[in-house]
Symmetry: C2
């Protein structure tokens, strides 16, 4: 009843299968992203049927239940819905994990210590893995790493941990490891956003950049200006302010900060659906009217509301792709510009800098797309982070000028570019041509961008993964441990892709461009 | 920072958005699939913040918790992760649902009564919706229908039920409403299979046809012949027998039966990885060796094991696409055929009929692909169901011969045919040219087939949905309530597609072929 049939390739596929059988779990070093330092042995441990979380010696009280929830989540991920049998009687039983966290504080500040050590001894009675971390968020990363050491044994039906003893010390190379989602071009339901957050933690990404609004729709409730979300696509394609709070809390409990963006003054067509005076005119509807104080009052209202929801150090103010022609073709605005001795470029600068001041007044540091730097970099607030996207070579200019930078050059790290391969994601180096250590520190990290023109619930995860994971290793792993040739990591990344699949994440095959369907029948590990 | 930009189409999209705003929930008749009988009014009810499940007058004790679990599931689906506020003081408060089930038995037999009535009064204190059903499985369908009456109100932040009072009476047109998945061409992890089962219930499909093994891999553990799953793709791409039990129980609790298939004697190349004597020879490796008693012993062992796991009335024995050339090119088998006065066709018939006898001995009725009927229909067991796939017009021949039939003609109901549109899925009529009521009853229903050559975890759900839902209405809704022109249901199906997305199911846009990415930014309801 199958429609396409090629016996030759199928036989070949089967041979692959035979060769692969029973070999996948024997190589212990399938961790993704690769930790800073890893040592391991050769002994197999067997999970207790009742894995225990202990916190002996920890200063972290876990009053919010972050650790307990994470431990249960990890245990379930490792079991992968298999039924565990309890028929072994073996001395090498792993009784659980002891998690020692030094800090009692679980505020997810930017640049927080995310390091951890993970020790799994080969002997002991009772035998516990030990995690030690400065903060709970380092401990969460350690639990993810621990989960990648454990395998369900299909013969004995118990969970095993191979290659003990393990000694792992790990910390991220960059403090900002982001993924952008875009809920204006297509609305993403709350459960979908949460599933994206879940999947981010598997490769230790830690910032969800939420490009909330754009020309096409304004899906979020702004209590200060309650007509703004009249610009939503429909009645249901919206987020209440409580939805946003829920998403932020959900993410923070998993070590992920949420960066909110309002992109001004361009990319704002949908704003005027509720407040048409934000448009230059009915026929010319963006950028926001630079001559109208109401434009800045609305931005102030939004950022005031945001400051109660989005607790991240930064807010993103966009500032890219601003076509100011509506300002000069609208007589009222042209006159205002003339009166203020401004041309279009001056108006653009004026708008961006005023928006920056508003953000600063609400306690935020600012992220702006790179056109702001390219046009008037010397005027930007020193609390600006420049977000690169147009191409390579920008970060070195930004940090030479003493500003901070996030790298997202579109040729390599735009996930909507389906011809951008995982190899390109892997090899894109944020510190290219930046050798001065002080300047290197100004590169906060990078971000892969999942723009939503052709992305909705149906295809977002398969377009993000596994390519975002390739970038995640670049952002996490020490430079000297990164592969020079991506071929050297293909087997390990394929293994991670299969792990994502086992966890229900719709990660696409590695072979081919982004989001390609498997070309033939075959094992996940070979596609 | 976006790469593709077309202002004209975006403005147009925005206008669509404005027109749509606040109108979607005002039309109550967005149910999918359409029930047999629906009456409704115009009053809005408001959910209590603590919706109650009552079972006053029910005979069903729910000792296994099926109903309680389903009620909680439905309440969570309706909330769709939104935070509900409790600030209303209104007389029209819906306090909960009272579920009356007449039968105390929750065995999911084939052909069980799946009918239900759902009444939502407009008045009452306390005000309860009332579900009445012969079996718990009818009540589950009623809860799904109930869920589609309720909406989160983004202004008041409460859940509303519009257009009360409701009186719905409903039952399925066909008892067999199936979806095939294929875990041989690509392995599907257990959580993925469970998510497929969840999504099936939203459009009231009730049979998961699990095409477990095929040429490419043999992923399932068979305790009687423990080397069979050596034919798996890899160590991890396998199901333990307990995994299978878990999947069957999971499905049954949601009203879905699991139909297991072993496809014999063709499509069996992977069987010989563990037991090479099942191959005609090392160089010619299928069909199973008709001359070797071991072939039938293994089938007997598999079906013996299956009978403890797969409790559905039917087992699927395949029988399609059998190329018997290996039998005549292998001297030993050719000699055996000669000695038994058989040619290749006789051998094929002999094999299929003997496998049927084995299945019957384990208490199963048999489903076979249509080639068995086309070649020797008069020899098949009367307990055979013929599974159509090659094209139209088969069912009428099968039922004219007094056998039962399931319709899956590939031109319309093969989901891997990406050029098969939802309109074709919707309009494919299983009873075409069958007018005799007794013969009509022999058509048990139909099944949409998600063959796995180009399908894995990354793309299975977006390839299944929304097209499978179009077929689901064909299989559920009375013929006279089905749209003659699929254009008449496009808005309702788009609404259902968006509902699937809200529930986290990766249903693709309606526009275009199967599994197409959205072509432009826009509302889910318009794509």
């Amino acid at each position: 009843m199958a429609c396409i049939w090629d016996t030759h390739s199928l036989h070949f596929g089967l041979l692959f299968g035979i060769l692969l059988s029973f070999s996948v779990t024997t190589n212990g070093l399938k961790l993704w992203p690769m930790p800073k330092s890893v040592n391991y042995g050769s002994k197999t441990l067997y999970w207790s049927t009742n894995m225990q979380l202990r916190t002996d010696g920890s200063n972290y009280a876990d009053s919010s239940g972050i650790l307990k929830e994470a431990f249960e989540r990890v245990v379930n991920l490792i079991k992968a819905d298999h039924i565990i049998e309890a028929k072994f009687a073996n001395s090498s039983v792993l009784a659980g994990v002891n998690v020692v966290v030094h800090s009692s504080d679980d505020t997810l500040n930017f640049g927080i210590d995310e390091s951890y050590t993970l020790n799994v001894p080969a002997k002991g009675s009772p035998l516990y893995a030990k995690i030690e971390a400065s903060t709970i968020f380092g401990a969460l990363h350690a639990l993810e790493t621990f989960s990648q050491l454990c395998y369900f044994n299909f013969t004995s039906k118990v969970v095993e941990l191979h290659a003990a003893p393990w000694t792992i010390y790990d910390l991220p190379r960059f403090p900002y490891r982001g993924l952008l989602i875009d809920t204006s071009r297509h609305y993403l339901p709350v459960p979908v956003i949460k599933s994206v957050i879940d999947s981010m933690t598997y490769s230790k990404l830690n910032v969800l950049h939420w490009h909330i609004v754009d020309d096409q729709s304004f899906p979020i409730e702004i209590p200060s200006y309650p007509k703004l979300w009249y610009g939503a696509y429909s009645y249901t394609e919206r987020y209440t302010i409580n939805d946003a709070i829920d998403i932020v809390k959900y993410a923070e409990r998993k070590g992920v900060n949420v960066l909110a963006e309002i992109d001004v003054p361009g990319h704002t067509l949908s704003w005027g659906v509720g407040y048409s005076s934000l448009w230059p005119s009915k026929s010319c509807r963006e950028p926001l009217d630079v001559s109208n104080e109401f434009s800045f009052k609305v931005i102030d209202g939004i950022l005031s509301d945001f400051s109660k929801v989005f607790k991240f150090k930064f807010v993103h103010l966009g500032g890219d792709e601003v076509n100011t022609s509506c300002w000069t073709t609208t007589p009222r605005i042209k006159e205002w510009l003339n009166n203020h001795h401004m041309n279009e470029s001056d108006g653009y600068r004026y708008f961006v800098l005023r928006a920056q001041q508003i953000a600063l007044s609400h306690g935020y540091d600012i992220i702006n797309w790179e056109e702001t730097f390219n046009n008037f970099g010397d005027k930007l607030s020193p609390r600006t982070v420049v977000h690169n996207w147009l191409g390579g070579g920008v970060a070195q200019k930004v940090v030479a000028d003493g500003l901070r930078c996030i790298v997202s050059n579109q040729d390599k790290w735009y996930l909507d570019h389906l011809d951008a391969t995982w190899e390109g994601f892997y090899t894109n180096e944020p510190l290219t041509n930046i050798t001065n250590p002080a300047q290197q520190k100004l590169v906060l990290g990078g971000e892969v961008c999942m723009w939503g023109e052709h992305i909705d619930t149906s295809d977002i995860q398969q377009t993000i993964w596994p390519r975002a994971a390739a970038a995640a290793e670049r952002l996490w792993t020490p430079f000297d441990k990164l592969a020079k040739d991506p071929k050297d990591v293909i087997s390990r990344l394929a293994h991670f892709r299969c792990l994502l699949n086992q966890r229900g994440v719709q990660a696409a095959p590695l072979i081919g461009n982004g989001r390609e369907a498997p070309s033939d029948p075959g094992s996940c590990y070979k596609q």
